[in-house]
Amino acid sequence: MKGLKFFFFHMRKNPLSIAGLVLITIFAIIAVFAPLIAPTPEGQFNSYLIPRDGYSQTPKPPSDEHIFGTTQGQYDIFYGVIWGTRTAFQIGIIVMGAVLLIGIFLGSIAGYFGGIVDEIIMRITDIFLAFPPLILAMAVTVALGPGIQSVMTAIIIVSWPSYARVIRGDILAIREEDYVEASRSVGSSHLRVILRHVLPNSIYPIFIMASLDIGAVVLTAAALSFLGLGVPEGYADWGQMISFARNWIVGTPSNAFAYWHTVWIPGLFIFFFVMGWNLLGDSLRDILDPRLARR
């Protein structure tokens, strides 16, 4: 109960954190109710393929039929951004989950045992960190072929080293604490100490980092899709939708914003999604850190 009281006190002082929570909740609702909000047309098996209304290359502005208009190739933007929310959550959560698993596993072994194990693992992370992340992701995506799985694998490969490092650093500090030694002196095995004492105490900064990074992951996936690598054509993915808008950023000579909807609508979805996670991560950090200090 005390924690909840602290939570609301903090929220009152910092309205932006409520904004973050609200944004993510809205997106979550959209993702969950996607089939109701933008129903898949009859007979289409894969809901993630955006329905096409014709084959004309010119985007059409918003109308009664297509609430957000259509993009190049007559893909319905409304359907695309709604189901794209699902894709974004998928990518964000699966990638983050895998990165956390790998990073925590390798980082805690390196931090807890030290010595040569630490050296080896750190050198491996050095190798991965030596490459510019986007370039490496591109290379992996090309190597693995198109598809959403290769996008996710690429981003996982690129992101795990920083997490391993961060958790290693935290564990180096926690390892020296009295209660860890006390647990060993009671007779606990290394595994028990790591799982029950070291990790629970060092994992909070990682979660904060992860929530801040989900936005970055989605952006990287969008970048890869924008470049044409990754998801197949017509897949409901925000990055892909912006990639379709590539040629329509500047409209006709008479009306520069003739095709604004192709760029802005997916763009705004990405913007608010990333910002929501960032605000949430910030407020999580504010809530968790001073609380630890206060205790």
Partner: protein, 393 residues
């Protein structure tokens, strides 16, 4: 003896998200000139708060909600420390009232040398004197004007002389401050730093540090705990302090080093005759070094008297219980039942009544005031008011 500091009804509250925590509860305390007053109590009783209140170092969410702290200045007039502006209190901090903290390694900045840190406070408060000394030296050099080198440097020396005389007349003048901000030109003020270092060196000798010139160039991490505490005491006494507040200065030190520091403090007491407010939870140390002792519990004083009175004839139930809990060779140990009250959930009336064997009905209702029961022996307890007044225990 004249009163140096008189705290009357000081109340400090902390406004936290969990509620209002009262750190000081109507505190009354007097410190006379030249005496060593001990403030003893357990964790959370508010003794450090009392010291911070005198120096106005309490920061939000803490607030001094009421009370007066009368202080007798050098000139003899009495001012209320709580009514001074920030600039005025800064003038007093470090020069007239200074503080020594518990952890010397936390009180010293690890990136600056000892010399830098001691001279910081000397330059801040004794600027005039330093400038006068520097000016005298420059005058002497200007008078011996014989060789070519001195003729070349003459203009520089004249500039120095004018700067120093300006500072000597008005330490807060604008021109020298401006000079101090410009790099390279700032080097003209080197004599002031030099003078300050001389004073620092003599201060280190006062606190019995051998080889002060070497120590001045060292950094805190190169020194042991005992030496660091001596340096901190030297810093506190740099500017003719009238009141030295020592907040558990020997708690973090070994027993033999603590003995050295206590002897040093006794020696300084004899030589400089400054008043000391010695805060500690160690009753044995207080017995050794204090003239009078005030026992605090949960934000206010419960007993205040001469040191022998407090230790041999304690009146307040808490003092008595505390004395019984101190391990003394050959004596049976006994503990005080119960726990220190939760600051968010204080008992009504006398704060000690839930743990007191002799609690009466009135103790649950009203907080006792600090009354002089015997000459110079103050107690805040309902057992000693009414018809018990005048009786000794």
């Amino acid at each position: 003896m004249q009163k140096l500091v008189e705290m009357k009804g000081v109340t400090v509250n902390f406004y936290t998200y969990e509620g209002v925590v009262q750190a000081l509860n109507n505190l009354d305390l007097d410190i006379y000139q030249g005496e060593t007053l001990g403030l003893v109590g357990e964790t959370g009783c508010g003794k450090t708060m009392a010291a911070l209140a005198i120096l106005r170092l309490i920061i939000p969410p803490g607030k001094i909600d009421s009370g007066k702290i009368d202080y007798c200045t050098v000139g003899g007039q009495t001012i209320d420390l709580l009514s001074l502006t920030e600039n005025e209190i800064r003038d007093i901090r470090g020069s007239q009232i200074s503080m020594v903290f518990q952890e010397p390694s936390a009180a010293l900045n690890p990136v600056y040398t000892i010399g830098d840190q001691i001279t910081e406070t000397i330059i801040l408060h004794r600027n005039r004197e330093l400038a006068r000394n520097a000016q005298a030296k420059v005058d002497k050099l200007l008078a011996e004007d014989n060789n070519r080198l001195s003729i070349l440097i003459r203009p520089l020396r004249l500039i120095q002389k004018s700067i120093y005389s300006t500072i000597a007349n008005d330490p807060f003048a604008f021109a020298p401050k401006l000079v101090g901000r410009i790099p390279i030109v700032r080097r003209l003020l080197w004599r002031i730093d030099d003078e300050a270092l001389l004073i620092a060196s003599s201060l280190l000798k006062e606190v019995e540090i051998a080889d002060p010139s070497r120590v001045l160039k060292q950094h805190p991490h190169q020194m042991s705990g005992g030496m660091k505490q001596r340096v901190v005491i030297a810093m506190a006494l740099a500017c003719c302090t009238r009141l030295l507040i020592a907040d558990e200065p020997t708690t973090s030190l070994d027993v033999t080093i603590q003995a050295q520091i206590l002897e040093l403090i006794k020696k300084l007491k004899r030589e400089i005759q400054t008043s000391i407010l010695y805060i500690t939870h160690d009753l044995a140390v207080a017995a050794e070094i204090c003239d009078r002792v005030g026992v605090m519990y949960s934000g206010s004083i419960c007993e205040l008297a001469e040191v022998t009175e407090v230790y041999q004839k304690p009146l307040h139930p808490y003092t008595k219980a505390l004395m019984a809990a101190v391990p003394k060779p050959g004596k049976e140990l006994s503990a005080i039942s119960g726990f220190v009250p939760d600051p968010l959930n204080l008992p009504p009336g006398c704060r000690f009544h839930p743990r007191c064997d002799a609690a009466k009905k009135v103790c649950r209702e009203k907080q006792p005031a600090l009354i002089e029961i015997n000459p110079k022996h103050f107690v805040a307890c309902h057992l000693f008011t009414g018809d018990e007044l005048g009786k000794t225990s």
